[in-house]
Symmetry: C2
Subunit: 367 residues, 2 copies
């Protein structure tokens, strides 16, 4: 797999009691012991994840020890634990989690204190496996300092969802103010970010959501964020779908995180020569495309995976974009619903993320 | 539809007897009367196509009158008659056919005789509707002079199939000698051209054909043309499809003219980041793609339609490529099976093209 994630060697760096005693004499400092969410084998997250104490870790000359403040439970975190994600950490004793925010706790002796100081807020950038723990030691270059005057849950979640939304608006179709895009799964955090970022750039959005109780409330909420049109899938079960566009131009870009019929209606909305980008498959159904969509309508179908994008030479560019997104959060122009749950209630947060308590906001662990 | 075909106003140009009498006095010359295959409404080709005599047509100052020598019956010709093609000629009295070769019969007074002379072989370029008739009058600029030392059936068919094969090798993926491509429908004329053109450019081909009686003979024939591997679909019903590649690199390009399972096996063969181009749908089944093919395998799915490509600013480029392809035919490097059928047996040729006589070679009408 070309897009290997950076693996934080967190567990490996933790010292056994014996090794610790031996190495402490030469090491300048160590982290505090950490509490972490670990797994030793792949399987159902509520079965295989366990909370455990880890011993102190050595802080090398160029390392920074960070006390974590918050980290979300994203669906892809659960997929990694299940073992259905193409990039897997070494087992046993893998620490779960992929993004989050922390505060600098201690610096190695060779870290330039003009770049990072104790108390600074930092995120792992690119994100890296192992954020569900209270202390992390990693090289200074792996951390990106961010503004600390926004709610920590936004900083903790800025990379996986908002950055995906922003990249997909930039990377596939050259959109100009006045253009239209269409997306399904519009109530997701990526979907909500797409609506708000599109609005900021003068783009119109056609949004598709599931038929379910409360869909009118969901529609109203998305319209308040700036959505031009919001349709449930059943509303799109008509012959002339484009009549629903009204005065809007036909969409040049479609974003699909659902698959199945919800992807087919995106293809129907797209203009001649349009592009659909798949970045998720919530329905677990494949995308089905007619021959004429390719030949006569000249549609292009692509995919987006943030982890691959970030593993290429985009480190600086992604940090600049993250700063931009956090500025928008600070200005009140980018918002989405989350629930901060204390880390001590990890299993409750996990159950909520797994859908055991019905529809719940995105769960963010507060350490 | 952006990609409107050039419509030869052939039938419209034909003079009614009265108009002819009136206009002949001022016109410099007229074509001979023509025999043509016409249709007045869309429907099954063997029901709606009729052979009819057309009156003489005026040859304008800048026109060239061409006596047609040969024209093929392509599947897309039949789709146009059926009305399932997005570009349709005006009815009634539309002349069928889209490509072919003819011989210059007479020139309008303002046509530069250094560019075209009586006896020259010419093709409509870009191809245009209405080639199934014995005489065609069209502006000189609509004709492209070609070499006349190759069998006329190759000149008659060089545009729709061989040019499609060549464009698809050029337009989507930057292939270098040693690279591999995979295609289904490999026994089609496009498929046979892909094999031969790929071989000439140092590219390897993986070829997929239907399971049917005589498939071993078909395999041998494609290997003689230069195919590296030929598999029937049932041979590909295995878990580790890529083990069949042997020492060949994973394909960067896939060409699909079938759809359904035959498209799915192409997607399995493709390398990370590969592209599949759909240019036909012989199985009448759609293309089905998993979410992970887009996200984790980063596949791109595109379409190719020669008629759209030629309607853009590619006139000169396509004529150069046609000359190149006819040079290859002359050198014996590009060949495929066809059957020349006299125009007087049009309905027999049509029935063969419609599959009423089992598997038959491509039918080319000989005028």
């Amino acid at each position: 797999m070309a897009a290997a994630a950076r693996l934080l060697p967190v567990a490996a760096k933790r010292l056994t009691t014996t090794a610790r005693a031996r190495r402490l004499s030469t090491s300048t400092s160590t982290s505090p012991p950490a509490t972490a969410v670990l797994y030793d084998q792949h399987g159902p997250p509520d079965k295989v994840l366990r909370v455990a104490e880890l011993p102190a870790a050595e802080i090398g000359e160029r390392d920074v020890c960070v006390r974590m403040l918050a980290a979300p439970i994203n669906p892809s975190d659960l997929n990694r634990v299940e073992g259905v994600y193409p990039v897997r950490p070494p087992l046993p004793a893998a620490v779960a989690g992929y993004e989050g925010v922390g505060q600098v706790h201690a610096l190695g002796g060779a870290v330039d204190s003009r770049l990072l100081s104790p108390g600074d807020w930092v995120i792992p950038s690119p994100p890296s496996l192992g954020t569900w723990q209270t202390y992390i030691v990693n090289p200074a270059t792996a951390w990106h300092r961010v503004r600390s005057d926004v709610p920590p849950q936004y900083v903790a979640t800025v990379t996986v969802n908002p950055l995906t939304a922003l990249r997909m608006l930039c990377d596939f179709v050259n959109l100009a103010p006045g253009d239209t895009l269409v997306q399904n799964g519009a109530t997701s955090i990526v979907g909500q970010c797409v609506i708000q970022l599109a609005k900021l750039h003068g783009l119109h959005t056609i949004n598709i959501i599931r038929d379910r109780p409360g869909s009118q409330e969901a529609k109203d909420k998305l319209k308040q964020l700036g959505a031009d049109h919001v349709f449930t899938e059943s509303q799109l079960d008509i012959k002339n779908i484009k009549s629903l566009l009204g005065a809007l131009p036909e969409p040049a870009l479609g974003l699909n995180c659902v698959g199945g019929n919800a992807a087919s209606v995106i293809l129907k909305f797209l203009r001649q020569g349009g592009t659909m980008v798949t970045y998720g498959g919530m329905s677990k159904k494949p995308v089905t495309v007619s021959t004429s969509s390719f030949i006569f309508k000249d549609l292009s179908l692509r995919g987006f995976w943030l982890q691959k994008w970030m593993s290429s030479d985009k480190a600086e560019e992604s940090r600049t974009m993250i700063d931009y997104l956090l500025d928008l959060v600070h200005e009140g122009k980018l918002k989405y619903e989350m629930e901060l749950t204390p880390f001590s209630d990890f299993h409750l947060a996990l159950d909520k993320a797994l859908g055991k308590h019905g529809s719940q906001p995105k769960q963010v662990l507060k350490f």
